[in-house]
């Protein structure tokens, strides 16, 4: 499954970061937009957003630097993301809508990917994270 339009994938590939796409999307979710940053000092970053029928959001993010720890949330859910490694999905219940964020998955030397979500059930975010697919450009 590749839920990305060709143009969006082209933008992601152009960052030089490994393209990571969903292997699973919850029912009713569809690609919304891709945000790309390229900076000679800070490196590259992309964020691919998928929106649900009630504006819930699931995103894949990747960056080649500038990261820190993802802080523990009110609840943590361990996830095995296949070849991308292990992560924790952190749930921040006090946010409105509820926020979720995975710890960073290492894609290579100082290159990381993660998942974030708003208003989505933790199970869905965990499955979304578990089934991420790293494409070979």
């Amino acid at each position: 499954m590749n839920a990305l339009p060709e143009e969006a994938l082209r933008q992601v590939v152009a960052t030089g970061l490994p393209p990571v796409v969903p292997g699973y999307l919850p029912e009713g979710f569809a690609f919304s937009r891709v945000h790309v940053e390229r900076d000679p000092d800070f490196g590259s970053r992309y964020q691919i957003d998928f929106l649900g029928p009630d504006q819930q959001r699931l995103s894949i993010e990747a960056t080649d630097g500038g990261v820190g720890d993802v802080f523990p949330g009110d609840e943590s859910f361990p996830v095995e993301a296949g070849p991308l490694g292990a992560a924790q999905v952190e749930l921040y219940q006090d946010a409105e809508p509820v926020e979720l964020r995975s710890t960073w998955l290492e894609l290579g030397e100082a290159t990381f990917a993660g998942v974030s979500g708003e208003g989505v059930e933790p199970d869905e975010v965990c499955r979304f994270t578990r089934e991420l697919v790293r494409l070979t450009p």
Binding site: G66, V67, G68, T103
Partner: protein, 227 residues
């Protein structure tokens, strides 16, 4: 361990000490644990002198105990920091005796400007503290390299716009002047560490605005802006 460094309570902890059959007493056990932890902290200070390695995670206290700000754990608690030198570099080890905050209080024009920039740009998603702090520093002529937050410490130590303040206690971090940069080391459960800019009012800014973290579970280094 250097004998001259042995704390006064140590003779009572020498091997062979008769505990009078109190080993099963929870109160006695708790006291022994506290003494043991104090000894380990003292040994941690020794690490800086002899270069030996010793690592342990927080033992007492619960750094994730109480909520202090929405969506974030309580990093304000005490707890014992991870004393290992996971991030390499010149990290502070052992107990912090504290510094005279009057020596660094007040702030500078550079620090005020940096804090103002950081505070007004702390709009990130979380997990990008180093990116946001890099951006704030770059806007003030300080360029940092590296992918993870803990990597900033050695660079700031070499940068003429800051001077490092050593020996600070965690509870003093909320009294830092505007623009002071706090870098937390990596360690178990903290793969990348954390970095933030003090706003001068007990708050810190990176990609998020939050109350200054004082108990992260790893070691920290503090860099105060020069004039």
């Amino acid at each position: 361990m250097n004998a001259s460094f042995m704390p006064s309570f140590m003779p009572g902890m020498m091997p062979g000490m008769n505990f009078g059959g109190q080993m099963g007493n929870p109160f006695i056990m708790m006291q022994m644990m506290q003494m043991l932890m104090m000894m380990m902290m003292m040994m941690g200070q020794q690490q800086g002198q002899c270069g030996c390695q010793m690592g342990f995670q927080q033992g007492a206290g619960n750094q994730f105990g109480n909520m202090m700000f929405p969506s974030m754990p309580n990093y304000g608690g005490g707890g014992m920091p991870y004393m290992g030198n996971g991030g390499g570099g010149n990290w502070q080890t052992g107990p912090m005796t504290g510094v005279n905050m009057n020596d660094i209080r007040g702030g500078t024009q550079f620090g005020n400007s940096l804090a103002q920039y950081a505070g007004s740009h702390a709009n990130g998603p979380g997990g990008y503290c180093y990116r946001w702090v890099k951006q704030a520093l770059r806007s003030h002529g300080v360029n940092l390299q590296g992918g993870s937050a803990y990597q900033a410490a050695d660079q700031l130590a070499q940068n003429g716009r800051f001077h490092e303040v050593r020996g600070m206690r965690p509870d003093q971090l909320r009294q830092l002047p505007p623009g002071a940069v706090v870098v937390w080391n990596r360690g178990p459960g903290h793969q990348h560490g954390h970095i933030s800019i003090a706003l001068g009012n007990g708050m810190e800014a990176s990609d998020k605005l939050r109350r200054q973290i004082t108990g992260y579970g790893t070691q920290f280094r503090v860099f105060v802006p020069n004039g």
